[in-house]
Amino acid sequence: MLMEIRDLRLSFERDGEPVEILHGVDLEVAAGELVGLVGESGSGKSTTVRAALRLYGDEAALDGSIRIDGTEMIGAGADAVRGVRAERVALVQQDPRAALNPVRRIGDSLAERLTRVHGWTRQRALARIVELLGSVGISQPEYRVRQYPHELSGGMLQRVVIAAALSTDPKLILADEATSALDVTTQAEVLAIFQRQIRERGLGMLLITHDLHLAAATCDRIYVLREGEVVETLARPGLFSEATHPYTRTLIETAPVMIRRAEG
């Protein structure tokens, strides 16, 4: 099991009072799986993922268990956490433009994790990056590495960010609304890239999205999150017929149906 979250509780302090945001979340992701975490805005999807990587500081209180590739994240020391972030997991955020440092060239931004964190030489890092950029479908990667983020389109930047995530050979990818900022066609392409990488490398991936139909079309398993708890777990292909929780049914009914992809 790549990631196992058991009874995760998270509370923030607001005006001196602790406010619980996650009320005992349970989920797991195994190697070779594309798992979806679906819910409305504010349901706690992003919070869960960030908590898993311990990206919250002292302002959040965590309880429960988060195991990533065998390492318990809650209560782990800074070095252990950094190790997991460096070796096991990669995070893909929603807005690629916000995820990259605007004052640095793309090549430098991507190379940083390889040279600083993994101790590679710059040449080796750049070679790997160019190779990866090509494999995610970016043209002229040797030229792209010298460009700044504002020179690329949103779709291309998203591919760049995916390439960045893959560059450290993680076992688990956490994609936080990674396709929400893209148009439908690009969305489909990006998901295809994800699925291919999962197959080829045996990765596990948690895809966070508010788009139920997208999840239904692509994921092997779906967790439905509502107000900080998992209310339903669904396995393909019975999404629409097997969903029993009234909340899930509401999501299905209110989600805009774009293409008949659920059947696909």
Binding site: L55, N101, H150
Partner: protein, 316 residues
């Protein structure tokens, strides 16, 4: 490029208008300019009247007078001081170095403590140090400079006798020593602004997604601060620092008076007290030009310093 030229053109126009205001202010005075310039009634002699008329070309129309003065200024001639009977440019030249030394000293202090405290407050945000720094600097900024200066003199010069009570010392280490309390006074008022801007810029970076992305790759915190947070933050910081330093030029008027320093700040006060209008005009012009120069340079350089502004400029 066009932007730069437009900015410079705007600055020049404003400068010309401001200098005109400075020059023609004497016409705003009650009575006629001659009466105003002569000022005290003690030495109203025919020779005096003739001298003043000649220096200011009062026979000519206003624009002509302004032209004489402005062209003189551009050539380095600010006329003659009524009180000292010496070329104003000489007086300026002799007193400017002290003021520059004072402002430079204050700028260094501001850099070290203002930015330093801001960084500490940002790194330790939402904790005790942050509150103390923000509260403390705001408090210091609420005290008028002259009050602060006198308080410092009372405690550190008179009571503890660590520093001289007044004056700027004569050169070298002695000057540095004598200018310490004045420099502290001058910089303390702006400490709040700089540390706040620094803290703000850094916190913005800390909370930004690209810093989070970097952290998620397992990068050590110190590299995150150095390569991501500071990198993005130093633009706004430097901008504000330049602006604040420029406005310290005007702050020297009060500080030099408190500490009895013979720079151009106190020169302005003296000149007003002695009705020495050529001197007043010259000092004002000098300060205005210096201030405009710095603010325009900052304005022009802004896109290079602050990446967000650069992005807007590129995409527009």
């Amino acid at each position: 490029m066009i932007r730069v030229i437009r900015r410079l053109g705007g600055m020049l126009l404003t400068l010309v208008i401001a200098s005109f205001v400075i020059f023609s202010a004497m016409y705003a005075a009650p009575g006629d300019p001659m009466t105003f310039l002569i000022g005290s009634t003690e030495d109203v002699t025919p020779e005096r009247i003739a001298a003043v008329r000649a220096q200011y070309h009062l026979d000519e129309p206003l624009l002509g007078q302004y032209w004489h003065w402005a062209s003189g200024v551009l050539a380095g001639d600010f006329g003659e001081s009524f009180k000292y009977h010496q070329p104003v440019s000489m007086i300026l030249a002799s007193r400017t170095p002290v003021t520059l030394a004072l402002v430079a000293y204050a700028a260094v202090l501001l850099c070290i403590f203002g930015i330093g405290l801001g960084i500490i407050a940002a790194v330790r945000r939402r904790r005790a140090a942050d509150t103390v720094i923000v509260g403390g600097t705001t408090l210091a900024g609420s005290i008028p400079e002259f009050v602060l200066g006198i308080a410092l003199v009372a405690v550190f010069a008179v009571q503890l006798q660590w520093f001289p009570v007044a004056g700027a010392g004569s050169g070298g280490l002695e000057r540095l020593h004598a200018l310490t309390l004045p420099a502290i006074t001058l910089s303390l008022a702006s400490l709040a602004t700089i540390s706040r801007v620094t803290r703000q810029a850094m916190v913005e970076q800390f909370d930004s997604e690209h810093v989070e992305a970097a952290r998620a790759t397992g990068l050590r915190e110190r590299y995150i601060v150095r390569d991501h947070v500071l990198r993005g933050a130093w633009g706004p910081i430097i901008t504000m620092f330049a602006l604040v330093t420029a406005s310290m030029i005007a702050g020297t008027v009060a500080v030099e008076t408190v500490f009895g320093i013979s720079g151009i700040g106190s020169l302005l006060v003296e000149a007003i007290n002695t009705h020495d209008f050529p001197l007043v005009q010259a000092v004002m012009l000098f300060m205005v030009v210096a201030y405009m120069l710095v603010t325009t340079i900052v304005d022009v350089a802004l896109p290079f310093l602050d990446p967000r502004i650069a992005e807007q400029a590129v995409s527009s």
